[in-house]
């Protein structure tokens, strides 16, 4: 068990202040507030956008930042601020749905594999490892080429891509817990597998699994943006942040704000999640 804690702490480059117990440090709070901000934007986007997303409101295309158009206008003269605020819905929403499915399935399978052991464990591990050795972007490309791109397909594809990682993480933790005395005692008591998973293992791996969920969320946001940037993710007329960069890539040679701000939006979200995870109170992160 100490093995896993030491390896997670070295890979997630801990900064000082993680010994403060349940108190967050400043960087963690900044990360958390940016995330909450984007979550609120995603929920209330239709109420706060200054212009309708699809409407051409600026006579100029790739317009600069001005008092009318805070973040400039896009390649058709649509308001960039409104489009980014609406884009938050797709980026945050799709990623959140995908990461929930991925982590839920991965963790459940991982715990089952760890508790059941034997051929089921071997088979599951081998199969998911094989799935894991398809590069994620390539997997996305192939599936989109085959089935076409729609939001449900995207969510499902993204979650399938990240199930193996979540599985491997949860299984490694669960295997450690599974070797502890209280599990042996519970087994001797004659408890069912379901009980072992739900009441003995899950509470003991919940903290690290939540931290892992955050990291996987970042991966999914990045992959989704990458796919959308290639034109294989969210399809017009809807646009997530990656698709916004793709639409406006023509403005890059002039340094148009329409190219820069969607990228900044992605970066602000992913960096905040990373900062929050790295600065989570130790008691949550390393409970196992």
């Amino acid at each position: 068990m100490t093995m896993t804690t030491s390896s997670t702490s070295t890979t997630t480059t801990r900064t000082s202040g993680s010994r403060l117990g349940y108190r967050f440090n400043v960087i963690g709070i900044i990360g958390l507030s940016v995330i909450l901000c984007w979550a609120l934007v995603a929920i209330f986007a239709p109420l706060i956008i200054p212009y309708p997303v699809g409407e051409i409101v600026d006579l100029d295309y790739f317009g600069p930042m001005s008092s009318d158009f805070w973040l400039g206008s896009d390649y058709l003269g649509r308001d960039m601020l409104s489009r980014i605020l609406m884009g938050a819905r797709y980026t945050v929403g799709i990623s959140l749905a995908a990461v929930t499915i991925a982590c839920f399935s991965g963790v459940v399978l991982g715990m089952i594999a760890a508790v059941a052991g034997g051929w089921l464990d071997t088979l599951l591990s081998r199969f998911l490892d094989a799935l894991n050795s398809i590069p994620s972007k390539l997997f996305g490309l192939v599936v989109v080429a085959a089935v076409g791109s729609s939001i449900p397909v995207l969510i499902l594809t993204l979650s399938v891509i990240y199930i193996p990682g979540a599985y491997r993480f949860a299984r490694a933790l669960a295997v450690n817990i599974n070797a502890m005395d209280f599990i042996t005692v519970a087994r001797i008591r004659g408890e069912s597998t379901l009980y072992l998973i739900r009441s003995e293992i899950l509470p003991n791996i919940a903290g690290p699994v939540l931290a892992d969920l955050g990291i996987r969320f970042v991966f999914i946001v990045l992959l989704l943006s990458g796919l959308s940037f290639l034109g294989l993710g969210v399809q017009p007329p809807y646009a997530d942040w990656g698709a916004l960069v793709r639409e406006n890539i023509g403005g890059l040679p002039f340094g148009a704000p329409a190219v820069i701000f969607p990228s900044l939006a992605i970066a602000s979200l992913t960096i905040s999640v990373n900062l929050l995870i790295d600065n989570l109170p130790q008691k949550i992160r390393d409970r196992a």
Partner: protein, 316 residues
Amino acid sequence: MNNRVLSLVLSRLLIALITLVIVSFAVFFATTLLPGDTATILLGQAATPEAVEGLRKAMHLDEPAVFRFLRWIVGLVQGDLGTSYANEMPVADLIAGRFVNTLKLAGVTALFSVPIALTLGISAAMLRGSLYDRAVTVLTIGVISVPEFMIATSAVLVFAVYLKWLPALSFANEVHGLADMLRIYAMPVITLTFVISAQMIRMTRAAVIETLNTPYVEMALLKGASRPRIVLRHALPNALGPIVNAVALSLSYLLGGVIIVETIFNYPGIAKLMVDAVATRDLPLIQSCAMIFCLGYLLLITTADIIAILSNPRLR
């Protein structure tokens, strides 16, 4: 003792082979899930049912998927990658030149990123907790947390738009000598180097720090060895395996990066070919490109694992 290493390596290779088979299954069946009928798509709306039926026969589309899979696998092994749907050319011919281009790009990137990343990663681990280490860590987290295309667009903004050193987007068909060569490679290589180095720095730093936490390093510290001596003589030789492992693993991130970078810079490599093939739904081409990418990825991660096995002194 050596038998143990040999059997471990062999079992790792066997696992890689099994994985490859599962992956080829996945790639093939993912691409045959296509809802539309390929023959209808190829011939267009105006085709007569007889023509569609004829083409289906000619392309063996009327056979069960399992037979088509076997036919495809046997073809692959024999070097026959099939014929592109889009322009009737053998896939092997389409891929050959592009593949060399991508390898060149990857090679040049590795040449730059490995020395840079190792230097930064090891020095950051040596000076753990210092301002320098913090700066390197923050920078790598920053690079890892943003999508590849953002690094590419930032590179364009910095080097082309503000500094005006390089053209914004390179066009590989206008090569007139060395200067043009450099220009074409500069942007993609800078972008990829950033992406790869960030991963490599993180992993190298973690590997060295892991060895610095061992009892024998503590012993060296207690006997009064200097800090550089501890790191270079005691820790580094033992961290070599994990570091080479980290290098091979980070290089596998090239595959993801290359897809974005080739698209954004219009570089005539295999990833660009594949993205274009996705747009035209050219299945044989997609399958072959996907297999090449998976093969490359497997090769790198298997190498990484084997190096980790070989470098473990306890197995010798």
